[in-house]
Every structure is written in structure tokens, then in C-alpha cells.
Amino acid sequence: MLKVCNKCLYEKSHPFGLSIYDKGCSGCDTHHEKYSINWAAKRDELENEIKLVKAKSKGYDCVVPVVGDAEDYYVVSKVLELGLNPLIVSVNDYFKNDIGWHNLHNLITHFDVDSFVFNPNINVYKDLVRTSLRKFDHILLPFLSLHTSFPVHVAKARKIPLIIWGQNQAVEQVGKFSHYDKVEMSKWGRKEHDLFNCDIDTLIGNGAQVDERDLNYYQYPNIDQLSSSGVKGVYLSNYFHWDPLYQNSNMTDFGFKPQKNTSSFDIYERTGSSVYYELHDLMKLKRTGYRKIRDHLVREIRHGRITREEATKLESIYNQSKVDISGFCRWLDVSDSGVKWLKLHKFKGLENIIGTQTECADIKVPEAISLLLKPSSNVENKFVTFGKGVHI
């Protein structure tokens, strides 16, 4: 049985699961649907849904969960184009850098939309990050738990009938469903894909030092009540031809600031995070055997902007890029001996990647990609805990 797709770079062991065929894989196969779907008809389907929503809603029509990256700009621009009145909901992950806060604030002011930034209890949050790193080699699980549940709580409490997400990662990466399935947000999908089967109850286990009352928003609402209240979540990637690099490159027109990235050519996705392409990327490598660059390369292979051979070479180059863990360790108040322990036990075998990020030597990407890369900025301040100049 084949273990690696012969069209892209994904392996059967992909964390979302992958079916490998004689030619391609479930992800490549699903991507191919994009060229035969009548997208105008798909948009009509969405507009019909929206008519029903607008008839039901009394204030905001929808909640749009954001982190402030380029995809969020695209989603908000589409939501407004569709005539919806959105409430933008963001969860502070306490990992943003100056570019992240600029992009989030600019998103709200440029599109002139109402917003709600939730700042979870930072002490509980840090405890959960610590537990998540220790038990699951993952530092974003607490944030992902909140990001995928808090907006749902808001929608339910404020009787906002629709939640609009950007892409469905499980469809885009491994083709878990067909675009024709029009899969909606669900508790199962959240646990299986967004949280890698580790919801907050699994995360804390039964020896937690956390008061369960502090975890309410980390948990998904009761689905019976949610479905009775009529709240549902849809993914825009089921209704629009989804091409992240192309659509994200146009977001600079709205004031989005791309960030220089030494771990990938993609300067748009998850821009503004102090950990995403650093410690999180290192942990991803440990858990899954590959870094974020592979997701980007696979996406570009499928969009025909790079060949599989070129992508393989680029992956090996980007895989050498250094990851700086010192900022995160300071943020988590890890002592010097703690850092040594982490390097010795947690990051064993990955020591060669830990270091200070340096300006990449000029890595050549194919022209079809470089044409979509706008000028990008350097980060000046990492781990800006709150967006209004407050640090703890």
C-alpha cells in the first residue's frame, strides 16, 4: 500500500487521515473538484441561506471569528459583500506581535465593523499552555479550544444565527469531505480536526490544577440547545473557489501587513503570531514529522504554481530554518534550568533547529508564487500580551 501521495507531499499518516489512490490522494482529488464546480451556483446557494438568516436575525446577522491574518480580511470582505452585518469575535492568544495587533485593529477599523476581543484569564491560560506542552507537545490547544468555542457561545447567547468560518482545513488539506457535502461546523469536527482529538477535558485530565469554573468558554456549548437555537456555522471555502495565496495577496489593498517569514514563503497565513512559525512549528514537526512549510507547498502544488520536485527541494531548505524558543520560555516564566530540561527532554533530536532566526539566504521560489508575494515587514515586538500597550 502506498504511504505517500505521488502528486503532493502528504503521507498517509497525516494527522487528519489521508486516503492514497493510484494517482493522487483524497486531498488532491477533492482539490480537483474546484475546477468543475459551478461556483456561481454555489454562491447562489449561500445567498439563499443568507436570505433565511437575515429574515431571522434582529441585530447582527453573523459572527466572524478572527485571528487577524489575511484570510480573516478575505472572509470579512466577502461577508460584507454578501450584505451581512457581522460581529467580529477574536480571542486573545497572548502570542501576538506588533504586526498581529496592527492587522487585527486595522481589520476592524478598515471594514468599520463591530468587534469583541475576549481576553481569557491569563493565569489559567498559561497553566493550560504549560499542561498542553507537557502532555501533548502542543502549545496552541488552549487557544484553539477558545477560538473554536467562544464565538459559538457568543452567537448562542446573543441569538446570532450564523457563524462564518473561512476554510475548512480538513477539506482543503486531506479532502475529508467533498465540497458538494457543504459540511457545517460541528462539535465532532471541532474535536477531530481543530483540536486533534484533544478537547479541554482530555487536556486537563483528572489531575488538573485548574478550577473547572474557569473553563466554561473552553468547552463547546451543549449541542442540543445550540441546534434548538438555530445557530449554525458555515465554511466559505465550500462556496467560493478557495485559493489562499492568491486571495490573501490582495488583502494588502485593505491595509493588511504581511510579515517576513523565515520558515515559509507564505507571508500571509497566521501572520502576527510570535509562536506559529517558531515553537509551534517545532512541536508540529515533533508530533507529525513535518513543518508548516509542507502544508503551504502541497497547497501550491495543487494550485499548479510549483512542481512536486521543486516543492521537495524547497521543503528541505525551509526545514533547516531556525526556531527561537527563548521568547516563549520567557512568556511562560520557564527558569533557565527549565529551558535546559526542555531542550534535553522535550526537544530531543530537534536541537539543530533551535536557535535564533536569521535572515534567510535568498530562497528562490517559482515565479508563479513570487508574483503573489507583496513586500513584507519585520517584527519589532514579540509577545505583545494586550493590544493596548499593557504587558504582564
Binding site: L18, G175, D181, S186, W188, E192, I223
Partner: protein, 235 residues
């Protein structure tokens, strides 16, 4: 009429099948069952899509996953149940009903009688993966990996030994409202013993209800929407 769901199990992981050709990965069986339980599904049919041969080792691996399941929903299990040894292995699994296909097509009365002795007649279901081709019913023989004409199937044998018969539309699985009801046209079985599966949607459920079918098994669609079963129940 019962509203159930079908889940495919391969190497301990769940999959969805589209048109009998393409498999899509679904994920962890335990979590799928957990959520279907929460959706208040009436029954869950866990099928190992075994084509051609099978091994007891592979069956044992899948059963090990199955044995960890905690659910209040009745489970049917099938795929690769081709010997007395395979039936013995089901002893401590949370399985309520057994699904046989090859055993019925091969008229393996000894095996089925053994299953009846172990689980009772009410637990025996016959799965007929089928399609219409040029107006003729074709049934997929899993152990041979090919479709055979329905003339070569002994429906009286099935009638005698099976409590319920699952007509699974292989061409339309994964689609919405696409179940081909002509598959049931010349069926000798009373509809109260028939379960339909493959491409089931709301409109199909309405028809199945009118036909007084025993149950419908929703394939992939069941996880595409939150609390989907409630919607199907109100179809």
C-alpha cells in the same frame, strides 16, 4: 422507522465511501460513535469493507478498537465474518447485531446457524451491496470482488436466515437523496424487514417511511451537520 448510520472501519480508522470507488478518511471510531450517540442515532452499523480475502489478524485489530467503545446505541458489525473463529472473536465486543454478506451469497448455513446460536436470530442482518444495471439487479460479492446477477442469489435462503436485509445502493452512496428505490422493486421481503442505505437524504426517508421500511442507514451525510439525526427524524 429507525434512523441509523453506517460507518466504515478500515485499520482501526473510520472512512466514508463515495460511489463504491473513493474512500475519504473520517477519523477516530470512538469519537464518531460518541457523537452519533449524542445525536440520538437509533443504530450504528459498523462495516469493514473487505473485498476479496481477509485475515483474522486484521479482524482482531479492528475488533480491538471496537471493544473500547462505550455507547448506549445498538451496534451492528459486519465485514469479514466468514468463519466460526471470526464469530468467536466477537464474544466480548459491544455488538448487538451481525451483518453478513458473503456468507449469505455463498449460502453458508453452518456459519449463519452458528451465529444464530451465539447471538439469536433477531441479530442476523444480510447486507446486499447492489446496483441496477440495464434494468437488472446486480449484487456485489465481496469475497470475489465482483458484481453478480441477482438470479445467482438465493433470496429464499436469505429470507429463512436473516432477520433484516440491508439494501445498500453502491452507486449512490455519498450522494444526497439519491437512493435508487427500484432496487426494492422485485424484493421478496416484506418492507418491515428492509433497511435501506447509500445516498439517503430527507426525501428518501419520507419515501422509506411511506413504504414502512424497518430502518434507514445514513452514510456520510450524518456527520456533515450538527444534530443531523434530529433533522432526518423530522423529514
Amino acid at each position: 422507522m429507525r434512523i441509523g448510520a453506517t460507518v466504515l472501519l478500515i485499520d482501526g480508522q473510520c472512512y466514508q465511501s463515495y460511489g463504491w470507488l473513493k474512500m475519504r478518511p473520517l477519523g477516530c471510531l470512538e469519537h464518531v460513535i460518541e457523537i452519533l450517540d449524542e445525536y440520538q442515532c437509533d443504530e450504528i452499523s459498523i462495516i469493514r469493507p473487505v473485498r476479496y480475502g481477509d485475515s483474522l489478524v486484521s479482524l482482531a485489530q479492528d475488533l480491538a478498537v471496537l471493544k473500547n467503545i462505550n455507547t448506549m446505541t445498538p451496534l451492528s458489525f459486519g465485514g469479514g465474518l466468514r468463519s466460526k473463529e471470526s464469530l468467536q472473536m466477537l464474544g466480548d465486543s459491544p455488538v448487538e447485531r451481525l451483518v453478513f454478506s458473503s456468507a449469505f451469497l455463498n449460502k453458508d448455513a453452518t456459519l449463519i446457524k452458528h451465529a444464530v446460536d451465539l447471538f439469536g436470530h433477531q441479530a442476523i442482518q444480510c447486507l446486499l451491496p447492489c446496483k441496477m444495471e440495464d434494468g437488472r439487479l446486480m449484487v456485489y460479492a465481496c469475497d470475489k470482488g465482483e458484481f453478480i446477477l441477482s438470479e445467482n442469489v438465493d433470496f429464499d435462503f436469505i429470507d429463512k436466515w436473516a432477520n433484516e436485509i440491508i439494501y445498500h445502493d453502491v452507486l449512490n452512496e455519498g450522494l444526497n437523496n439519491a437512493f435508487d428505490f427500484t432496487l426494492l422493486d422485485n424484493s421478496i421481503f416484506h418492507h418491515s424487514r428492509i433497511i435501506i442505505s447509500g445516498g439517503i437524504g430527507h426525501a428518501n426517508i419520507k419515501i422509506a417511511n411511506e413504504k414502512l421500511c424497518a430502518s434507514v442507514l445514513i452514510d456520510n451525510k450524518v456527520l456533515h451537520k450538527e444534530c443531523s439525526i434530529k433533522g432526518y427524524r423530522n423529514a
